[in-house]
């Protein structure tokens, strides 16, 4: 962080010049200007220190280094049929946190809720509302636990994906002689198997409910939108069958690609692009965008993807038992 040291000469002059008429605005402006000053001073410092010619690291130049390597799953050890890797670790963490928080809150509900209880009650209300709006009463009693669990499980899985943990066994660093895996932000969702299994179970579930409600022939018939008659049926019917199976793919790819692309984008903006082109300046220039994308992903996308998966589960199960 030698770049920070280069900035102070710029900031006091810029922050001090505007007359302090409104005290609140002025502080905000000072902070904004000093952050910009640090960033701009860093650019100047990087140009002075490293120049603007590219020096690729040997691993990058020989393309031994690949940006997607960090998402590869190295087997750490085998426990029976399970090859233990970081994806498994994240799944176990997610399961542990989900169960732990939920049981902890359920055991000691209080009249005056703490912060955690307020959050859990908010998730409960949200899941309750989306299942009540899309399912009838009998189905809601049966499937509300599933929908709420899917929501919280995916939310926790997404959110712990934004905490740097020492899991990147592909590269290590030394602390007091011990080899520690590099810190990495990884999420179980960035492996396609995790969303695929979730989507498959949802797909099997709503098909089962539909077949139970309509009968096998009736269910296939119920896929047709009502009021379609004549020769157009031959055209609409294959499309409806196809779109029914495409739900599986769309559920999977929506969650998987959102998280994978988000993590790749954070990595690229947070310095990897500079490594790839061999120009230190690029890493520094793009760093604010990396921070912005990180906040956008962690605040909006993580919750949104959990919400959308849960509400689509409710909609699909509700749609399967609906009579046209």
């Amino acid at each position: 962080m030698s770049a920070v040291a280069g900035a102070p000469p710029i900031t006091p002059g810029m922050g001090g010049t505007p007359p302090a008429e409104k005290q609140g605005m002025s502080t905000k402006r000072k902070i904004g200007l000093s952050v910009f000053g640090v960033w701009f001073g860093g650019i100047v410092l990087f140009v002075v220190l490293f120049g603007v010619t590219a020096h690729k690291a040997p691993d990058v130049a020989s393309s031994a280094f690949s940006p997607v390597d960090e998402f590869r799953l190295d087997t750490w050890f085998k426990a029976g049929p399970v090859a233990f890797n970081k994806g498994v670790l994240y799944l176990l963490l997610t399961t542990g946190i989900t169960l732990g928080v939920m049981f902890y809150i359920a055991r000691r509900l209080q009249q005056r809720p703490g912060r955690l209880q307020v959050a859990v009650e908010m998730f409960y209300d949200l899941a309750r509302r989306m299942s009540r709006e899309n399912l009838d009463q009998r189905m809601e009693r049966k499937y509300f636990p599933l929908i709420a669990t899917i929501f919280v499980f995916i939310l926790v899985s997404n959110l712990i994906g934004y905490i740097p943990l020492p899991v990147n066994s592909g590269s290590t660093f030394k602390v007091f002689g011990a080899h520690i895996p590099s810190l990495q932000i990884y999420a179980a969702d960035t492996n396609v198997a995790f969303p695929l299994i979730l989507a498959l179970s949802v797909f099997v579930l709503f098909t089962y409910e539909g077949v139970k409600h309509h009968g096998p022939i009736g269910y296939v018939k119920s896929l047709m939108p009502g009021g379609v008659k004549g020769p157009i049926v031959g055209l609409i019917f294959p499309i409806e069958i196809l779109s029914n199976f495409l739900r599986l793919i769309s559920l999977t790819v929506r969650l998987w690609a959102n998280l994978l692309a988000g993590h790749l984008l954070i990595a690229f903006m947070g310095g990897e692009l500079g490594v790839l082109v061999g120009l230190q300046l690029v890493s520094w220039v793009l760093l604010p965008f990396g921070v912005a994308i990180f906040i956008f992903e962690a605040v909006l996308i993580a919750g949104l993807q959990a919400f959308i998966f849960a509400i689509l589960t409710a909609i699909y199960i509700g749609g399967a038992v609906e009579s046209h």
Binding site: S250, V253, R254, A257, N258, A261, L304, F307, I308, I311
Partner: protein
């Protein structure tokens, strides 16, 4: 001129394949982004209009707006994943 260019590339078949893959990735990502951008714009357009017309429905409109946003945003990733499949497989 063209012959010289093809000869310079060494293996024309390999070169053509690589070029096709790059085009597929660019087309998938770019087309997906264009489509999703237009779609997200339409979603927020409708949301803002309905919120200003009927501010009392704000909560419900916003919930549907985020649903529409996430569904539309995902279409970008279908294009991107299609491009990646063409590029790497």
């Amino acid at each position: 001129m063209l012959h010289a260019l093809i000869a310079a590339t060494g293996e024309p078949l390999e070169y053509g394949k690589a070029a096709g893959r790059a085009i597929a990735l660019g087309f998938g990502a770019g087309g997906g982004a264009a489509g999703a951008g237009a779609g997200i714009g339409a979603v927020f357009n409708a949301s803002i209009q309905s919120k200003t017309r009927q501010p009392e429905l704000r909560a419900e409109v916003e919930r549907d707006q985020w649903l529409g946003f996430a569904l539309t945003e995902a279409t970008f990733f279908y294009g991107l994943v299609g491009g990646f499949i063409a590029f790497f497989l």
